[in-house]
Amino acid sequence: MQISEGCDNGPRLADSIAQWSQWQLLDSLLPTGGFAHSFGLEAAVQSNLVSNPDELKTFIIHVLENTGSLLLPFVHLASVSPKLETWHNLDKILDATLTNEVSRKASISQGSALMRVGSAVFSELPSLKTMRNASLGSGTISFHHAPIFGLICGTLGLDSTDSQRAYMYITMRDVISAATRLNLIGPLGAAVLQHQLAPNAEAILEKWKNRDVDDACQVAPLLDTVQGCHGYLFSRLFSS
């Protein structure tokens, strides 16, 4: 995000204010309930797919790849055209695409929370609130996370690449946070790992950005299966 160097204070101020909003959107403090989900990490640990720091790193990279290949198209298209019809269409397609029940429910709960928070927090953008109210009544909209995230980013003025990067960022943030709470890695180690993985995440972004929903695919089917096993865990910390 470049701070414009125009002489006119108006756009510069608007840009700066916009940055505050954008940073708040990515802040883990935002009450979207993202921390109830481990992206299959808990199931992976209990099935011994992840049992040492190297495997954790590989796991996170695979989660990012799968996010990129499957969900970035939805973020991209929603951010490019943050309108009601686009959002509804993407929501419907994503509901059929998220065949894994665990990840589908996680997406719905995170998306609904994000929409509720977004429409309340960013009150200067009434479109969010109106879209939300229109969709709540219909009963056919599932409120999936990725399209709503793209929608809010687009409404806040983030361009498409930044929106997709932001989505990758919050995914990585949430998995690493889950790893910390599962006691797989300490808080400092988590921060170090997050920084180390930034170039990987950027490379993944470059590979999978700006695609159409027809191209959305799973590239890590083992991850998908492991995440689906979350429901079979006897004792669990996370809801997905």
Partner: protein, 425 residues
């Protein structure tokens, strides 16, 4: 339109099934090289109304650059099965050409289409793209099995292909998407596919849709839950190298499966199977895997699905059904297995079988104790005594009496007959 022209060129086969005289019948069948359909009349019971179609590829597989489109239509209340004679081999790619196989199917109201082929096996450097599109009514029934093996592992090819992309899309009558699934394994984009799939050798997706499959859906869901719950029972905190002193790995599950509901009342399951070829410390899991596949899909799969399984595992799986006769138990007990040997056993496959035998012995011991504790006048004890009086037994009777067998059991387990009376033990 360009697309229609392409379609016509690619269309290698089509079949239409409708009710004729109250029975599902093929009313239209077309195929041209390299596709061939075989429609045998006598598969299964004649009381079942179903059309079986075997799809074959001349040359035994899919050659680089092949573009194949097949269309199927299953009329209302009809049943059709589409399967193969052997695994679909995708040969190596020549000049980076991608082979494509497309399937379009329309399933009528209250009809059932079951697509249960053998798995796809991609050779080294193969490039394969598969798309299956289904148009269904609200009460149509669908069984789809879509699976792939790691390759020709005897030749050392494990996940060595360049591209495998499989798409399964289901649309309702109004064009609404019900299920959109694309799996893409691409060496160029992902790097080492082996890392993504780890040590698993088969990836399978099984999809069950429709009211007629309610029973199977529930069965599969319960089975998967049962198997996976057992495998996920060791929650662990800190990361550590999980190896105990004996040098055993606490290994990954040999079968990783999850079952999800999609749509409103339908189901599909993602099932991962670890190879039957790999020698693994699964402690009887191999047996259970075989059991799961067979019992859940006994009406759908040929047992040949277990191709390559060591005969040993197959036997273990049969015996697991516990319709074992006492003669067989005796033969095993006296001939092959002495339990104390099994504990030190280094032939790991046998552990699966031995644990079953242990269970059998256990239950027999329990009964023995129960009988012995009865007073001597009780008819059960009288029968006990009577058996000793028998001299020459007729053909088919076990040579050993139950007494002799059971006498051995306590010895083997370090007990004696007297301890039976001590229930506290």
């Amino acid at each position: 339109m360009g697309n229609e022209q392409e379609d016509k060129e690619m269309e290698m086969g089509s079949i239409v099934v409708e009710k004729v005289g109250g029975r599902s019948s093929v009313v239209h069948c077309f195929s041209r090289y390299p596709v061939k359909f075989i429609i045998p009349k006598k598969v299964g019971s004649s009381r079942t109304d179903v059309v079986w179609v075997y799809a074959l590829n001349y040359g035994g597989g899919i050659v680089s650059g092949d573009q194949i489109l097949c269309k199927f239509s299953v009329g209302d209340c009809c049943t059709m099965v589409l399967t193969t004679q052997g695994s679909t081999k995708v040969y190596k790619s020549v000049g980076s050409k991608c082979s494509k196989q497309l399937l379009e199917a329309r399933v009528g109201s209250n009809a059932l289409l079951a697509i249960i082929p053998d798995p796809v096996t991609c050779f080294s450097t193969a490039r394969y793209y598969q798309k299956q599109v289904f148009n269904v009514s609200s009460n149509s029934n669908l069984v789809i099995v879509d699976w792939i093996t790691s390759g020709r592992h005897e030749s050392g090819e494990k996940w060595d292909f360049d591209l495998y992309r499989s798409i399964n899309n289901i649309f309702l009558e109004d064009g609404e998407p019900l299920f959109l699934d694309t799996m893409s394994l691409e060496k160029e984009k992902i790097g080492c596919i082996h890392e993504l799939v780890q040590d698993y050798q088969v990836i399978a997706m099984i999809l069950l849709l429709g009211p007629k499959l309610q029973f199977v859906q529930n069965l599969v869901q319960d089975k998967v839950k049962g198997i996976m719950s057992e495998q996920l029972q060791h929650p662990s905190g800190a990361l550590s190298h999980k190896r105990n002193e004996a040098g055993y790995f606490i290994s990954k599950p040999s079968l990783m499966a999850s079952c999800s509901v999609f749509g409103t009342k339908n189901q599909f399951g993602h099932i991962w199977l670890e190879s039957f070829y790999k020698s693994i410390e699964t402690r009887g899991r191999k047996t259970r895997n075989a059991n799961f596949m067979i019992s859940a899909h006994s009406n759908l799969y040929k047992p040949a699905m277990l191709y390559g399984t060591e005969c040993w595992a197959a036997k273990g799986e049969h015996k697991n059904k516990l319709s074992v006769t006492e003669i067989k138990m005796l033969r095993w007990m006296s001939g092959h297995m002495r339990l104390d040997r099994i504990r030190n056993d280094d032939i790991r496959e046998r552990v699966g079988v031995a644990s079953i035998l242990e269970k059998i012995v256990e239950s027999r011991l329990r009964w023995f104790g129960h009988v012995r504790r009865r007073p001597t006048e009780h008819p059960v004890r009288k029968v006990d005594e009577m058996e000793d009086g028998q001299g020459v037994k007729g053909r088919g009777r076990p040579k050993k009496t139950i007494h002799e067998v059971v006498k051995r059991d306590p010895h083997v387990n370090g007990l004696s007959i007297d301890t039976i009376n001590d229930r506290a033990q």
